[in-house]
């Protein structure tokens, strides 16, 4: 690798390696439109995570959630559990990129004595809400003036169209083929069919099925794209010392980092159009963990479209830039035979579109040895979070 690219940077994070662990996880059902509110879903996920950790709601004195949605904040917590104790909180948690960085917030709060047990929650009810959104999940983008004037009028909207052009550019620069994008979709569906909790469980997909799926925006097909779902998950982080007193085997946070793109959400102008801010995040996280891509037994990445998986696999260093298409061919991504077991719960493509929170829970399950599609001898797992503007890298391991 040459000099670090200059179109973004790693956020300035302290080294929290080995200080905290994830000790409880909770998930709701993952479904199509459920008619439930995100707040209800968040409460259920929180309840299950707290119980899994062997704690009571009153023990939870830290809460991280996504402030842009604020579906399950401190007020919602107290209302649901009938509690009133003091809770440290941060709106910079939840899902997406922040599903990967919430354990860092927890480590900071715990280190400063602000909290002891920190819950990170992220619920989604977009399947239920979709009908009332302009352009679905693209609504937030459509409201930005530069996109409203320079992109939407020219048909470059919403996300399937952005990522179709990123796919095309990956094909132009690196010779990536449709079948190579398909290999990601097929592997995710294979895993979903081993996971009864996945929305696409019981719906097998072959490469032929992938290639027969319609284009939404050529070269991007329906089966390159994530689902739209209702569901949520939560996890509890505590100090490594405290973790060893709790019932579940601690899953230790070995590294956390965040990468930022200088072009923000203006993907069209990002200098490296076929890269993600993982190029800044992953080296930083691996550095503090004292580990490298070769040490990773399972990888989950935020995968709204197949090309985002290929880009992150490259940018995190699992293969050289431009070679992910060839890398993912065959059984590379399979949980039981592959070189890089990948999105072993089915991912956003075939498990559920709950924006990455279930990806972190899956890594925890894998390291506990309780995953539906269990990777043999799984000791180190990584989550790659992504929003476009941000990426995060969360490196987890079994306790020593």
């Amino acid at each position: 690798m040459g000099a670090s690219p200059d179109w973004g940077r790693a956020a300035d994070y302290d080294d929290v390696s080995g200080r905290v662990a994830i000790v409880g996880i909770g998930e709701t059902a993952y479904t199509k439109a459920s008619g439930r509110t995100a707040r209800e879903i968040g409460a259920e996920a929180a309840e299950r995570a707290i119980a899994d950790a062997g704690l009571e709601p009153a023990d939870v004195d830290g809460l991280t959630y996504n402030g842009a949605f604020a579906d399950f904040d401190v007020a919602a917590f107290h209302e649901h559990f009938g509690t009133s104790h003091e809770i440290w909180s941060s709106p910079w948690g939840g899902g997406m990129s922040w599903a990967g960085t919430a354990p860092y917030l927890a480590a900071q709060a715990i280190g400063a004595g602000e909290a002891r047990h920190v819950l990170n929650v992220f619920p989604v009810a977009w399947a239920t809400q979709r009908a009332s959104m302009t352009g679905g999940p693209g609504e937030v983008h459509a409201a930005q003036s530069l996109k409203q004037n320079l992109e939407v009028p020219f048909g470059w909207f919403p996300q399937p169209v952005y990522f179709a052009t990123i796919m095309r550019r990956h094909m132009i620069e690196f010779g990536t083929t449709e079948e190579q994008f398909g290999a990601v979709a097929v592997a995710c569906r294979r895993h979903a069919n081993l996971n009864p909790d996945a929305v696409m469980h019981g719906k097998p997909m072959s490469m032929a099925d992938y290639l027969a799926s319609p284009y939404l925006a050529d070269p991007l097909r329906l089966f390159d794209s994530c689902l739209i779902s209702d569901g949520g998950a939560a996890y509890v982080t505590t100090s490594i010392e405290r973790a060893r007193d709790l019932p579940r085997p601690p899953v230790v946070v070995q590294g956390v980092a965040e990468g930022l793109s200088g072009s923000g959400t203006h993907w069209s102008q990002q200098a490296d159009f076929t890269s993600t801010p993982q190029v800044f995040s992953a080296p930083a996280a691996f550095g503090t963990a004292g580990l490298g891509p070769a040490d990773v037994d399972v990888l989950t990445v935020y995968d709204p479209f197949t090309v985002v998986s290929l880009m992150q696999i490259e940018d995190m260093g699992f293969c050289p830039k431009g070679e992910a298409g060839r890398f993912v061919e065959g059984d590379t991504l399979f949980h039981d035979a592959g070189k890089l077991p990948f999105n072993t719960h089915g991912g956003l493509l075939s498990h559920a579109y709950v924006l990455g929170i279930a990806h972190v829970v899956e890594v925890v399950e894998q390291l506990r040895g309780t995953a539906a599609a269990q990777v043999p001898n799984c000791e180190v797992g990584v989550y790659g979070g992504y929003t476009g503007a941000h990426a995060s890298t969360l490196i987890l391991s079994r306790d020593r």
């Binding site: 409201a143 004037n149 320079l150 470059w156 169209v161 939404l216 925006a217 050529d218 069209s268």
Partner: protein, 168 residues
């Protein structure tokens, strides 16, 4: 969060950040902001976050001296500057599904990113027209054409915008 503009998804030609882009086609020009000091092309127009009070009664922003946009590199004044209207095809998608009702009659269409000849780091989002999608390839030379943009969901309104076609 909801889009309230009745003419959405037509561009808001009065938005001061991009008004120069939409005014130029009437003169047969493709204009991009350029720094008068260092000569740098600055795209997208850097957001200066004009105060809310600066918005006129119609919701448009009046151009005021304190809103002069400046170069992110040297803080020199930015001026909407004519280009040669040439670009290369950076990437494209053939949109098959109408994600907004306004596009229902237009699909399939080619939306593209084109890299400006003067500075390929300037990528303009546009339509590629007068070309069969199968004939497109990365890096192909393109030239600007000015065509009216109309949506059936916005009756009796149109905006002439830059689109691109293959160089003959």
């Amino acid at each position: 969060m909801a889009i309230t503009r009745a003419d959405f998804p037509l561009p808001d030609v009065d938005d001061s950040l991009t008004a120069g882009f939409f005014a130029a086609p009437a003169r047969g020009e493709l204009c991009i902001p350029r720094c008068e000091e260092c000569g740098r092309w600055c795209w997208y127009p850097p957001e200066t976050q004009p105060p809310h009070e600066a918005r006129g009664p119609a919701g448009g922003r009046r151009s005021r001296p304190e809103e002069q946009q400046v170069c992110p590199a040297c803080e020199g004044p930015l001026v909407w500057t004519r280009t040669a209207g040439r670009a290369r095809l950076f990437s494209w998608a053939v949109v098959q599904r109408a994600f907004l009702p306004a596009f229902a009659d237009m699909v399939p269409f080619v939306t593209a990113l084109v890299a400006l000849e003067e500075d390929p780091a300037v990528r303009i989002v546009t339509y590629v027209v007068d070309a069969v999608p199968g004939s497109l390839h990365g890096g192909m030379p393109l030239e600007v054409v000015f065509r009216p943009l109309r949506f059936p969901t916005v009756p009796d309104r149109q905006v002439v915008v830059p689109m691109f076609r293959p160089v003959a």
